[in-house]
Amino acid sequence: MMSLASYLIISLILFVVGLVVMISRKNIVAILLGIELILNAAALNFVAYSRYVTNNLDGHIFSLFIIVVAAAEAAVGLAIVIRFFQIKETIHIDEATQLRN
């Protein structure tokens, strides 16, 4: 029941769902939700390998860094979203077509 394979399958499902969220949604915040799911799938893999394969805790360290990067990414991403909304008054991803102004 609880084996490396089951964790990898959960992680796979999480990854695919995150990918589909990223592709199918048109709202920038929803795309960020998808990114969070994908990053979590990766972090889960690291911890699972750390328990079932290696004998050290490097996997834990790696997933801690993934959490840190995810938090930083969310903060900057959402700041950009709010700025974008101030300029365009929408957060439809297809409206983001200009590099300046």
């Binding site: 029941m1 609880m2 490396l4 089951s6 964790y7 959960i10 499902i13 999480l14 769902v17 995150g18 589909v20 969220v21 592709i23 199918s24 949604r25 048109k26 709202n27 915040v29 929803a30 960020l32 939700l33 969070e36 799911l37 979590n40 972090a43 889960l44 911890v47 699972a48 750390s50 328990r51 394969v53 290696t54 004998n55 050290n56 805790l57 490097d58 834990h60 360290i61 997933s63 801690l64 860094f65 959490i67 840190v68 990067v69 995810a70 938090a71 930083a72 969310a74 903060a75 900057v76 959402l78 700041a79 950009i80 979203v81 709010i82 700025r83 909304f85 101030q86 957060i91 439809h92």
Partner: protein, 178 residues
């Protein structure tokens, strides 16, 4: 037994909420389901004996990221843009018709089978590790690893966080009306 119960419930929570994130039309609800999914992942970490990582996950996501996302949804009107034409899964029709999905399924299956075939060999050659149900504390060891072997990554991540903090504050600051 308790561990298995925790595992099954966390796995169910993770996957069901992740699918709910995908299928929910209301973006606010999506954020709440994302929170549930991330708590499920924290539960999975706990079943893997990663107590520190599990609590960090709860701390960062529940206390920070999800609240930020809820704020962003609220400040940007909370509209979600679902295209009118949808297929059976509730996904926009622009993602493909049955032919693209069929081809994708076949390619995916072939890819999966080849990967299983390849990975089986690797998995068998992995060092056999005895898995016990004893969960030793990981906090001390993680602390030592962070300031000895991974100290460079640790410092770089602190710089990254500082950069993200300043950058987010500058990007989102109110615009001057001129």
């Amino acid at each position: 037994m308790f561990l298995q119960f925790l595992f099954i419930s966390s796995a169910f929570l993770t996957i069901a909420s992740a699918v709910a994130v995908l299928l929910t039309k209301n973006i606010m609800h999506s954020c709440v389901f994302l929170l549930a999914s991330l708590i499920g992942v924290a539960g999975l970490y706990a079943t893997l004996g990663a107590d520190f990582v599990a609590v960090t996950q709860i701390m960062v996501y529940m206390g920070g990221v999800v609240i930020l996302m809820l704020f962003a949804v609220m400040l940007t009107g909370g509209k979600d843009f679902i295209s009118r034409a949808q297929n059976l899964l509730g996904l926009p029709a622009s993602m493909g018709n049955r032919w693209t999905y069929g081809i994708g399924l076949i390619v995916g299956l072939v890819f999966l089978l080849t990967n299983i075939k390849l990975l089986m060999g690797i998995t068998k050659s992995l060092p056999v590790k005895t898995i016990t149900n004893e969960f030793p504390s990981t906090v001390n060891e993680i602390g030592h690893l962070l300031i000895k072997e991974h100290v460079l990554a640790f410092e770089i991540s602190s710089v990254l966080l500082l950069g993200a903090l300043v950058g987010a504050a500058i990007i989102a600051r109110p615009r001057k009306q001129n």
